[in-house]
Amino acid sequence: MFAKLETLPAPLLELVSEANGAARAIPPLFPLSASVAVNPFLGQSDEPLAVSAARLARVAGARIMPERAVWAEKFSAGEILESDLAAALRSARFGRLTLAEVVAAVETQAAQPEALPTVADLAAEVSGVDWPGLIEDRIGVWAASHFDEGQALWQPGRTGGAFSAWREFASRDLTPEIHGLTGFGAFVAATNRSHWRAIGRASEALGLSTAASGTAFHRWLMTLGGWAQYARYLLWQAELEGATDNTVTELLAIRMVFDEALMGLYGAQIADRWAKAVAAHEVPVTPTRDMAIDAVWQEASERAAQRRLAETLEGGAAAIRQERPAVQAAFCIDVRSEVFRRALEAQDAGIETIGFAGFFGLASAHRAVGSDVVETRGPVLLRPGVQSQAVEPGEVDLGRRYTARAGRAWGRFKLAAVSSFAFVEATGPVYAGKLVRDALGLGKVAKADPAPQLDPAIGPEARVAMARTVLGAMSLTSGFARVVMVAGHGADVTNNPHESALQCGACGGYAGDVNARLLAGLLNDAGVREGLRAEGVEIPADTVFLAALHHTTTDRVTLFDQDLPSGDWAADIARLRAWLEQAGQLARAERAARLPRAKGGADIARRAQDWAELRPEWGLAGCRAFVAAPRHRTEGTGLAGQAFLHSYDWRRDEGFGVLELILTAPVVVASWISLQYYGSTVAPVLFGGGNKLLHNVVGGIGVLEGNGGAPRPGLPWQSVHDGEGFQHEALRLSVVIEAPRAPMTDVLRRHPGVRALFDNGWLHLIAMDDTGKLAWRYDSDLTWVPFAPEAQEDRAIAAE
């Protein structure tokens, strides 16, 4: 923090660069107040799965693929075919394996990965003291206070950044000394105030070479769990703002100071073994044979799923609509929309649905009523493009704030040292009523905010341009129905720290109502429509855009018809309401079948209100495919809530700008979601959110599992597992796009970050042809191969 980099000696600069690299190997952990799914392999996206498996084995001792038994079962059930394995083997890059070897291996156990030891691990072995646990505890106690967003009334000082704040803490904390780390306080006080120099000194004391430092740093950061990831989030946010942040490497320095001190204490006994660990860190990361085999099986299981998807889609393909639809309903691409869209379309032939990223192209820095806090209602990959605010009269706003402030003062009264006794004696009995209310689920539902409004500073031309872009991206520039419903989505859950994980990921972990209402307001604006006409987009005068919120927990839809301009749509809206009600019943019945203890559709609303319910809905569990094509390609096909559906018509996409947008934004967001579920399923200890029964919210930002330690990233066990089996199958996402291959190749060439995801198999890309068949598979390095060569050969033979 203090030393300018240029003043550091050259060898230290190399370590700095390695440390910064290790920081980027860590995925960010967004605070739970507005969390979004994060790809836990974000730092590994430029290497294939087998290499990441080797890396994470070395630095965390974790397996990142399903157990072999899972594949063995699918293989014997005929879900994975030998042809899938053979195809996967052809694209495999490691191990020179034969098909027979791969098949045989699935019956054996893969070697359990083991992390390289830290100094603390070695010290624990020779001393019998649980040093890794103690270090985790000590750093946890400090970090929980340091990153606290407002749980504790007495906040610590934070000046000078993490390392400086920790030095203040650790030089006074007597706990390590009580447990035998003699003189640790003085040792900390004697560290350099620059965390870079502290890293340099510790590296020297530990005999760490630059070559070894990459994975050694990564290893230490992994021992910090969610703290390192939260720090990585701070870096992510800083970089979005064009700034930078050193918290990750400061945490690394903190962790290294502990190992440096332990080396001083136990050096004589562990120096040899530590030197061996350093030597092992110097060896480049290479997958073992087991890992190479596992990667083939993983790939094969994904190809098998794609094969089934191709069969499912082949059965579908509705006719292209000719007449004007009665209602167009745009939903988020979220997999939960698929169930509801299907149910809604079944209500009437005049209903057309559209899939689009749920922030509807308006990433907004939004302020809710009575709030000074700016919420980023948009994908975390982007900086918000507009500002908005829920506007209400000044008096109402003030009243709301006074109520909130009085509530806050009451909250402090409740928690403060002496007043908490008065609070309990005077108001404790009131809680008997609250207990009954909550036990019976009688809580009130919050009222909707007034309509959000775009920052008045955004001029008319900018508004028209925004509207034009969004309509183009939705492939909706003509053929408007009388009512176009724009439905964001949100989850209604109670007493759930992971609430934001069930909200709209494209809206930054909030519900999508604000964005939907902003877009509807924009497109209902007469001036904007005037401007659009000049751009060649003619919205009929009798068309109205109606914002809505799809409640994913209950499959109800709230219509914001109070936002509408005056006009004669009452009958249309009443009819739409009836359809939505019917569709909701269908969708609830379909989802109830998957939820434990749900006795049917009617049970679902109650569960959303239940404060003890850990599985109010399954969120996006089960997601495995992303389809960007006109809706008629998938209409009428049951995709079981497993597919992101993006409406896209390449024939209307001049210059393929929309294609580029889809591949670089919604596809990337979907990959983060898919890989978060993947990580939480295959490596629940490393990347999963832990056991909800033990969750202990820390600092308002994360959850501890039990007493202390580090916050748990990812999805809780109960969000992917129903007690008997996984609700999510660990498959990396298959992206199916109906578009010619050349423009897709072009987009990938221009976006190396996106290309890396496809090249390394974190995502699969499949091109759909003009007949709606899955025709081509992207085969890395900007090349394509036929999707199902065997099938084509078979057909050719049959034709002969």
């Binding site: 103690l134 709030s371 928690l415 403060a416 002496v418 309990v424 009995p429 029964l693 033990l694």
Partner: protein, 516 residues
């Protein structure tokens, strides 16, 4: 007097659930969770009916089901009826919650059985008519609790906490056993009511009172053996809720139940005041620094139990009982709704910055707080009230003053000031009304407060000064908290002054166990 046996029905129903749970200990144990909820609800109904009989027919002790003074007997009076209604109500809420919450757990059946068992044990404890039953139920409660705390036996942190808890629990059982034996020897009976009626000062009674106080302090997680309570978030949330709302009260209940015995030993009572007062302030201050919601709640429990122990030490047994009831209801709700912490923390910052009161505002707030106290006292009446109760009222008014101080901050708008004054007044009135209710309901059951002697006066003044200092420090907090000296104090406080670390070290709590 058949109705005196009625309360036994509640533990009986719950024990039937325990038997059923042994048959289906595993995943999705069929109707067991609903059965447990129904049994707890029925237990609550039984407690309410028993309380009605108490109102109609007055207190009494049932005959003994057993021989030689050993066996089951029910003492039904204001103390036990209150505890029965409270514990069975919390039990119903928690078992209802668990039925949904624990779904999908591999050992849900065993868990349900354990919860039913501990609930039955606590109910048997609070209805005890004789000392042997009390000791047995006391021991059973902590044994079952130990098993529930190790619901995930593989978790190292759970093992560490459970070990500490076990050491403390065994000590408290030995202390209680000693007290029970002394009392039986001295009074020649196991019947609690008889002992209370005939309690007279003497060396055996004094020693028994000291042991009772020790058992209670150990069970209530008082300094310096509080550590285990801050670490048992290693068990599922319903265990914490039941522990903090139903089980941890056992210590306080013991003191209230044996009030007449305790009153014969003023020296022991004085120690309780000092220990309770110290732990209350200590726990309250440490709580301020805790960034994790359940941990903060655990420190709050330590402080609240300490405050209750202090009330017992001041011979304010009715108020201690009120405190147990109020705290249990609040804490059960706080634990069960701990998942709302993310929303709650996010809500704090929405309405803008907090108005910081100046030193002048704080003085204002204390003056007005005491004025409100005087006013309410004049209306409801100070006469007949003990010095101890009035002093306690002053301590609570210090708390209300903190509420006022926030409204009086110069930056606070008038509307906020008005609201704070209303809140403060309502809080004060509610407090005094509840106090009157508690005194009224327990009159005749619990002994009146004796007039304070010099020792009591000294303790009262000491308590007033120390709580007053902390209250002022709390109210002026933003003015000094960022000072470097405060930062040092914060480090030591956030670590609970290392009492727990030293306890760990003594027990070798951080030794690395090689996985079997």
């Amino acid at each position: 007097m058949w109705y005196l046996y009625l309360p036994l029905l509640s533990p009986l129903l719950l024990l039937a659930v325990v038997v059923q749970a042994r048959r289906t200990p595993g995943l999705r144990p069929g109707r067991l969770p609903k059965l447990a909820e129904s049994a707890a609800l029925a237990g609550f109904a039984v407690a309410v009916v028993a309380a009605l009989f108490l109102v109609l027919n007055g207190p009494g002790t049932s005959g003994l089901i057993g021989i030689w003074g050993i066996g089951l007997s029910v003492r039904l009076d204001a103390v036990s009826a209150t505890m029965l209604v409270l514990v069975s109500f919390i039990g119903w809420i928690v078992l209802r919650y668990s039925a949904t919450y624990m779904d999908g757990e591999a050992r849900q059946g065993a868990f349900t059985g354990g919860m039913a068992a501990i609930l039955a044990a606590v109910l048997l404890l609070v209805m005890s008519g004789n000392l042997v039953q009390m000791l047995a139920a006391w021991t059973a409660t902590s044994l079952v609790l130990g098993r529930l705390l190790l619901f995930y036996p593989e978790r190292t942190t759970a093992q560490r906490a459970a070990r500490k808890k076990a050491v403390v629990a065994r000590l408290s059982e030995v202390a209680l056993a000693g007290a029970v034996m002394l009392l039986i020897a001295a009074y020649g009976t196991t019947d609690i009511a008889t002992i209370l009626d005939t309690a007279t000062p003497g060396w055996a009674t004094l020693a028994a009172a000291a042991l009772l106080a020790l058992a209670a302090a150990l069970a209530s997680a008082q300094f310096p053996v509080h550590g285990w309570l801050t670490e048992v978030m290693e068990a599922p949330t319903p265990v914490s809720a039941l522990l903090h709302a139903g089980v941890i009260n056992a210590g306080g209940f013991l003191l209230i139940r044996m009030a007449d015995v305790m009153l014969t030993a003023p020296g022991v009572m004085a120690v309780l005041v000092m220990l309770g007062g110290l732990t209350a302030l200590f726990g309250g201050l440490v709580m301020l620094t805790q960034p994790a919601v359940k941990t903060s709640l655990a420190w709050s429990t330590i402080a609240q139990m300490a405050f209750m122990i202090m009330q017992c030490g001041l011979a304010l047994f009715p108020l201690a009982l009120l405190h147990i009831v109020a705290h249990s209801l609040y804490k059960a709700h706080a634990f069960l709704s701990a998942g709302e912490a993310v929303r709650n923390v996010a809500a704090i910052r929405r309405p803008g910055p907090v108005a910081v009161p100046s030193a002048r505002n704080v003085v204002q707030a204390f003056v007005i707080g005491i004025a409100i106290y005087g006013l309410v006292g004049l209306v409801i009446g100070f006469d007949g009230k003990s010095v101890q109760a009035i002093a306690l009222g002053v301590i609570l008014i210090f708390g209300v003053a903190y509420l006022l101080a926030q409204g009086f901050a110069d930056a606070a708008p008038g509307a906020l000031t008005r609201r704070m004054v209303i809140y403060a007044s309502v809080t004060s009135v509610s407090y005094f009304v509840l106090q009157l209710v508690a005194l009224h309901l327990t009159a005749g059951t619990l002994p009146p407060v004796p007039a304070p002697g010099p020792l009591e006066w000294a303790l009262i003044v000491l308590a007033l000064i120390s709580f007053g200092v902390v209250a002022v420090a709390q109210a002026t907090f933003p003015l000094w908290a960022m000072h470097p000296a405060a930062a040092g104090i914060r480090v030591h406080l956030s670590n609970g002054l290392y009492a727990n670390a030293i306890f760990d070290r003594l027990l070798d709590g951080w030794s690395k166990r090689t996985p079997a």
